[in-house]
């Protein structure tokens, strides 16, 4: 946790690293539970984020002070969560993720959520979740009325050092 914060070197920032609620094998946790065949459960994950944001609001943080950075499956959850909220966040930064329910974005997206800026990041050599998924996400977000941007970097399924400045610039631009 501390190293992540140090890497970003953002001042006066509270970092939160919640744990996914569903178990997925020995030592593994997942934000989604189920399968394509059986369907996916993620309500507990939504509840964690909802309560977290409510607690932060009670502490005095406005929703526009809150950014969600997320990777892989966490990125999938973040996008599904954000579009369905009755408020906007400072921004979301889904890295190497994809939108699971693509056809539902337009109908499920709330007006308030459309004010949440989106920075999509993806490695061009990602073979786990192909970068085309973020290109599709970008189009879906834009078509649904979101301000979204996509940066592809030269990397696999990871967050390389070069993402640091993209993330910092995005946060500084949207928040300060």
């Amino acid at each position: 946790m501390e190293p992540v914060g140090k890497m970003m070197s953002l001042k006066d920032t509270k970092w939160i690293l919640p744990q996914a609620p569903y178990t997925a094998g020995p030592g593994g946790f997942s934000w989604f539970d189920g399968s394509e065949k059986m369907g996916w459960k993620y309500q507990e994950s939504f509840n964690i984020l909802t309560h977290l944001i409510q607690d932060l609001n009670n502490e005095g943080f406005s929703s526009s002070d809150i950014f969600i950075i997320s990777f892989s499956q966490g990125a999938c959850l973040t996008m599904e969560f954000m579009i369905r909220q009755s408020f906007s966040l400072g921004g979301i930064i889904p890295i190497a993720g994809f939108i699971r329910y693509k056809k539902r974005v337009k109908q499920d997206a709330t007006d308030a959520s459309r004010n949440t800026p989106v920075l999509l990041l993806h490695g061009e050599k990602d073979k786990i979740i192909l970068p085309e998924q973020s290109k599709i996400s970008l189009k879906i977000f834009k078509d649904a009325g979101y301000k979204a941007e996509l940066h592809i970097y030269s990397s696999g399924h990871k967050i390389p050092l070069q993402a640091k400045n993209l993330i910092k610039n995005f946060i500084n631009d949207k928040h300060f």
Partner: protein, 87 residues
Amino acid sequence: MNNNLVLIFLSCFLLSCNAGTSNSECTDCGGGLLDGYLYKEVTVEDVASLAEIDVSANVGKCIRFKMDGTEFSEATVVDDCCCIEYQ
């Protein structure tokens, strides 16, 4: 400290997101951020501090390191600063 910004970081680990894909280019780096290591490119200012812990690294090289306060407590030269990953 008066925090005025909150960053929530959602990751996923092990089987939950990418089963069977542990052969990343960075597996030889020996530890990632979540193990307490940081990565950075060596700057002119770092060279003397690194020399104090007997690490010789040229400016621009990538190191994996830990800090003890403002000093390096551990550092190793690695091939590639892409070795920051959360999987």
